[in-house]
Subunit: 337 residues, 2 copies
DNA sequence: GCGTACAACTTATGCGCAAAAGTAACCGCC
DNA sequence: GGCGGTTACTTTTGCGCATAAGTTGTACGC
């Protein structure tokens, strides 16, 4: 790798002059030398040593994307197309802005923090952090942080959140189910916090507005860990007669559930209606095609990255960005009387 | 961020002493000072500045994972669960070895090369490169390179390839189809090079061994670009009566095709048998569940990363690693007479 | 014809770290 | 008692870059 010093030596000039040309500092250098240097740079295919540059500038041009997986969801997380689309959106945006992306997947917040400080990343995008983790990280590192899908009022004082109007999206879907004659609607999720809680609230609100009483027994818990999922699916299938429709917090769960039901001879949507949330390829390719709440995951990644880049450029950004959702009516809901 | 210099000042000793403790150079430093320094390091939560360290050491502790997307497959690539599982496998392995992963997605080899040299990565994992690209990159940067799923005899002189026995896997599947009475078997792919070509060879070989003549018209070309895919699917569906079974080079294509067929009232496996390759969640969750060739994508990522780490440690590795495949018989193949 | 302003450079410094080279004290040994 | 060897340090250097500070040379105004 050729260095500025060597280039300067060969061109018989100072390193500062070369450096000035590299940084396009016109006015500091004559057109003549500028051309000469530029030609030479191209010839030797000069690439700056990023470590030296970063050391001198005290920046890194790296944006960290930390995916925190709950230990019990690890496999699931990385399998989910949601994640790769998100990564794709972030990477593309960051790269176009001249930044680099360092990906970090862990279930340990401390490990993530160590990683962040080691690399002195310029900014951080966090996904899947527990609410308090985001705060912990942001308090320790005074770098801009953008969280994705984090629900925490306290957190919003410390970082920007990019999310959805989860409550509204769910509300719309439940309202749609009710309009199709459904009253016994279950809510399937793996936890009752953050995003899932917001969706649960939308569910409750829609029921309430329709005069249907919320029953806690209609909250169906799925255990995503690979050695438990079959059991929890079996339980849910066994109880399927209690409901006419099940709202699942993700397409993944919806499709998984439909498979389990189908295997037991319970047909969707004839015997029971199933809806999801996300609108990813899983539901799109499924037959019957999944009725679901659409969210634009790539846009989420892009928005998160854009917001972070703005903050790095010193611009103000709202501390809460909610992307819209819309219903995608396909074939897994039956109209009943 | 506290520096070694500052620590040395506060402890009233030289930076070298501190540095020696950090690097565990016993014998260079007394137990007393060692303990003192270690205590202090813990107290101030010292984290080395990686840029300075890398500059001084001329290494980076970064492994680059470059995903090259053919421009027309970009969306597709990042959507495919294949990619996220692969990323997950690589990231996990690299992280456990104390390395970091920089992810780079691009359709431009030159851009990837620039990225590589900018960051002075210690090693590179390439996926989706055209065969010659890998050689170009490896000739320019004398760093260890591991390619995934690259078919190039020439390339194997320059780098290690981690792949599958694609030919055998396909051979086994076609043989199975034939054992189920199928003779008119189509081969669906989007190109005829690399992995797909190896699978095509397996297909041809199995036909030949069964005394069935290969017809080039049985090669079905799918155009994955979003504005062309519907058209090519329609074409294929229109011709579906010509075959009793279609081998698809990926589960994604298989499931996509089944959806298209189903939408036209053509049932799988009653009217036509469809098989895939990969065995990912797409086919697992599909009903009827997809009969496919299993490959362990995570193992692929892990193996690639492991191999690279070995090379970085100066160990010899084979220049060609083929992971095994096996058939997964599920419900998309009908036995015919 | 002298001071000033400015263009076009060069020299020097430091970012934080690792490591080579240097130093000083001490111990044992013939 | 002088010398090699060892221990436990310190001083110095340099990685490649950016930049602050310094140095020319020259055109211009009065």
């Amino acid at each position: 790798m050729i260095t500025i010093k060597e280039i300067a030596r060969q061109l018989n000039m100072s390193t500062t002059t070369v450096s000035n040309v590299i940084h396009g500092k016109d006015g500091e250098v004559s057109d003549d030398t500028k051309k000469k240097v530029e030609k030479f740079l191209k010839k030797v295919d000069y690439v700056p040593n990023i470590n030296a540059r970063n050391l001198a500038q005290n920046e890194s041009k790296i944006i960290g994307l930390a995916l925190k997986a709950r230990a019990d969801k690890y496999e699931n997380l990385i399998m989910d197309p949601f994640v790769s689309v998100l990564i794709g959106g972030v990477e593309e945006t960051i790269r176009n802005a001249g930044y680099f992306m360092m990906l970090y997947i862990s279930s340990d917040t401390d490990e993530i923090m160590r990683h962040v400080s080691t690399w002195n990343v310029d900014g951080l995008i966090l996904f899947g952090m527990l609410n308090d983790d985001g705060i912990r990280v942001s308090e320790k590192y005074k770098k801009p942080i953008v969280c994705i899908d984090t629900y925490s009022l306290e957190g919003l004082k410390h970082f920007t959140n990019v999310g959805l109007d989860d409550e509204q999206g769910t509300y719309d879907m439940i309202k749609y189910l009710i309009s199709q004659g459904h009253k016994k609607i279950a809510f399937l999720s793996d936890n009752q916090s953050g995003v899932d809680l917001a969706r649960l609230n939308g569910y409750k609100k829609a029921l309430k507005d329709a005069g249907i009483k919320y029953k806690s027994s209609n909250f169906l818990q799925i255990h995503p860990k690979s050695d438990e999922i079959d059991e929890s699916l079996a339980e849910i299938c066994d109880r399927s007669k209690e409901f006419t429709a099940i709202f699942c917090v993700s397409d993944l769960y919806a499709v998984t559930l439909i498979s389990a039901l189908t295997d037991r001879g319970i047909n969707v949507p004839e015997d029971i209606s199933i809806v999801g949330f996300d609108d990813n390829m899983l539901g799109q390719l499924h037959r019957p095609a999944l009725t679901t709440v659409h969210q634009d995951v790539k846009a989420k990644g892009i928005t998160a990255a854009d917001t972070l880049l703005k903050q790095l450029a010193g611009q103000k950004t709202p501390n809460q960005i909610k992307l819209p959702t819309h219903l995608v009516i396909r074939d897994t809901v039956r109209k009943i009387n």
